[in-house]
């Protein structure tokens, strides 16, 4: 920590992590679960030590099996993290949600990576970028395809979810 702002920021983040009523799970740059805050267990009834080290796809699968539907993936590109998951205390279960609400929720989840895929593709097709920029955008596009693929595999597997 170099200055007081760093110290405050660190302490605020630490307090938020520990005392939040929202379950928070961090995914590291290699795509594995690196940590979960105390509220995660109470939000999901999943023991924290069972998800640490798990791949993101397996973690998604675990949430689905535990019937945890009300979560949000927030992408990060800093500090050694790829993303965090936020899970609400009253996250509810699939069985308690109407089929229409389920489909609406899945549609919203899919729209996020689809928006990035649409945007990157349109820019690549219509703008003249240098080679480095083009490679960077193509890489980002590929990553969003992976995110979307994971979502489809986990959220729209009819063997697991009975619409």
């Amino acid at each position: 920590m170099n200055n007081m702002n760093d110290f405050i920021s660190h302490e605020v983040l630490k307090a938020s992590w520990i005392h939040s009523t929202c379950g928070i799970v961090a995914i590291d740059v290699s795509g594995n679960v690196s940590s979960a805050n105390p509220a995660f267990a109470s939000c999901t009834d999943i023991e924290i030590n069972t998800v640490i080290g798990m791949s993101e796809a397996d973690f998604n699968h675990t949430l689905l099996n535990a019937q945890v539907l009300d979560f949000r993936r927030v992408e990060l590109l800093v500090d050694g993290f790829r993303a965090i998951y936020q899970i609400r205390l009253d996250s509810g279960s699939i069985s308690q949600i109407s089929p229409t609400a389920k489909l609406s929720h899945v549609a919203e989840l899919l729209r996020e990576p689809l928006a990035s895929i649409y945007g990157f593709t349109e820019l690549l097709l219509t703008q003249n970028y240098d080679e480095d920029t083009r490679i960077g955008l193509t890489t980002a596009l590929f990553e969003q395809v992976e995110v979307m693929s994971n979502l489809i595999n986990e959220q729209l597997d009819v063997r697991k979810v009975n619409y």
Binding site: E75, L76, E108, E112, L114, G119, A140
Partner: protein, 125 residues
């Protein structure tokens, strides 16, 4: 050059919108509504592209409502962008004072054209 503030918690979406808009507008960015709210007071953007669903205590709807209720900020042109495509979601956004509502996925170039047109019409000079 008109100033546009892009507010979205997803870095990839901010990157896409920045790439689409940078040649026409001066771009500022915020990753959450709280940061955006502070930035707006200082920089007074001409337009805001505002994601509806964001982590934290304030979402895009709440920030939109706060801006439109402030007489000093109400003239800022607000485009809400959202993964919520239901008619009632759009109606809620427009009722809170948003000037436009884009449902994800949307064309970033269409957003650029929309803002270019809106800035000429609604904020001459």
């Amino acid at each position: 050059m008109k100033k546009v503030l892009i507010v979205d918690d997803q870095p990839t979406m901010r990157q896409i919108m920045r790439l689409a808009l940078w040649s026409k507008f001066e771009i500022q960015e915020a990753g959450d509504a709280y940061t955006a709210n502070e930035l707006i007071k200082v920089s007074r953007p001409d337009a805001i592209v505002l994601d509806v669903m964001m982590p934290g205590d304030m979402d895009g709807y709440q920030l939109c409502e706060r801006i439109k209720k402030d007489p000093e900020l109400a003239s800022i042109y607000i485009v809400l962008v959202a993964a919520c495509g239901q008619v009632e979601d759009q109606e809620k956004g427009m009722a809170l004072g948003a000037n436009a509502y884009f449902v994800k996925p949307f064309s970033p170039l269409e957003l650029m054209c929309h803002l270019t047109s809106a800035m000429l019409i609604d904020a001459p000079g």
